[in-house]
Symmetry: C2
Subunit: 288 residues, 2 copies
């Protein structure tokens, strides 16, 4: 990739830009909605050019990456569809893939070659100021081709994420949405619900929290508008995951409340299983 | 305090010992069940003396701290009750206070002065090797007097934890157990349940986790036998917290699944509330 256009200079867009600039491997153009954000991107060395002119930012690009909230991607995509190079590779970093891939794939059906991506990196912090060039190092990036994706485009986008230090896994958009509902969207819902349950039942407890509560609820500090979009766009899979979680929670609370002589034995078995699985995870790097 | 006896050289006992040794403020004696653990404590500078002889370790102590799992505290307490100085201050670091305070308070009713404590510090890591002298700096320590506690003893134990860098909050054992069920025991149950739900429904998802899942589930790596004891000892309050959590979770999942035109508005309100509360928390230091 010689010319990369990044649409939206937030945490992810900014981090991609920084990674490319550090490697000096491509000319980076950034589109921002507000002139001040474009100026800030340029002033802080995120890009070679930064502008609010969407079509001019993407015109030369051989790789275009949508890094805005998922809700605004289709509108922006329609705006540039007739301006992109016919051979341009196009991707996005959205946390939901089913709807996004279908819509962007359709919009870029005639012009450009679209393949969806979802780097499993990020933070509850947002914006360019939280961006870092090594954000994708040793993280996982899910690439989600569908039946319309060109095999060559899938290979190129895979190589791109690998060049930023990520490991790539391929899966369908539907597989992605189900998997990510369970390991990202449901955990977000749990964290927010736990915080709100404490607020409702015993707000004084907030004053004495330890490191466990700090970490369990960190993601509840993520941007709420963005997460509303994500949860809403993936609501069927999130509901399914939440129902599985609730069923398991009821099962274990029922056990805990029982007078069975096996109670502590079975409880210990449950916690031992969870610990063994958690201990064996390949954890993403502690840069967040 | 000139002579401190620490019963059990794990993460908390070891960290108290290190903190005292760094300040050179007291002679530290450690009791360990196994001779190798006693030797290790001595060899690594955790104590002035370390031994498996329980009564000899506590005989001279003006402060005795139980740092074993809560299940073994009553047995050890009975063993030393007739050996402790009549003016000895006695506390523990157990995560459940109702049963522990009642039982240890009764055992040390005639001899010694017992007040329960619960420092909100720790880690999923365990044992002396994870101990650190600054573990209690800027953390919260809950001190739980009951109607039998001497006011002077409460003051002394408060000053002791403050001398290790902790902030102290006083509350009754029952208030403690209800509060901690919500901010520590329930989160542990949620983390373990989430891990086991992923294992059951989509184990391949473990391979692509990001930083959110890493942090949300960290505490599931805690020692399972210890957590079984904690959850079991505080099961009434944990069940109550879990029921409140489940009710709130069902409420928000029902909203998410609805076709209401207010869905995203209300969802955003819920997440915005959670974010504002989480953002305003005084977080414990990132030393874990």
């Amino acid at each position: 990739m010689n010319n990369v256009a990044i649409i939206g200079p937030g945490l992810l867009g900014g981090s991609i830009a920084l990674a490319l600039r550090e490697k000096k491997s491509a000319r980076v153009a950034i589109w921002a909605r507000r002139q001040e954000a474009a100026d800030e991107a340029l002033d802080n060395g995120f890009a070679d050019v930064a502008s609010t002119g969407l079509r001019e930012v993407v015109a030369q690009a051989d790789l275009i990456i949508f890094c805005t909230p998922i809700g605004s991607m289709p509108g922006l995509a329609k705006e540039i569809a007739s301006a992109v190079r016919s051979d341009a590779l196009i991707t996005d970093v959205g946390s939901v893939k089913g709807a996004v891939v279908a819509e962007l794939g359709w919009i870029f059906g005639e012009q450009g070659r679209f393949v969806g991506s979802h780097p499993m990196a990020g933070s509850h912090e947002t914006g360019m100021k939280a961006a870092r060039g090594d954000l994708f190092q040793e993280t996982m990036c899910l690439v989600t081709p569908d039946e319309h994706s060109e095999p060559a485009a899938v290979k190129e986008i895979t190589a791109f994420w690998q060049s930023l230090g990520a490991q790539v896994r391929l899966m369908t958009p539907a597989e992605h949405d189900e998997m990510v509902a369970l390991i990202s969207h449901l955990p977000h819902l749990l964290a927010a619900t736990l915080v709100n349950a404490v607020a409702e039942h015993n707000p004084a407890a907030f004053e004495v929290i330890g490191p466990g509560f700090r970490d369990t609820t960190r993601i509840a500090s993520g941007p709420s508008a963005m997460w509303t979009e994500i949860l809403s766009a993936n609501r069927d899979a999130v509901r399914k995951s939440a129902e599985a979680m609730i069923a398991k929670l009821i099962e274990i609370v029922t056990l805990l409340s029982s007078d069975s002589s096996h109670r502590d034995f079975l409880m210990n078995e449950f916690l031992t299983e969870a610990k063994a699985r958690r201990d064996s995870l390949r954890l993403p790097p502690k840069n967040v």
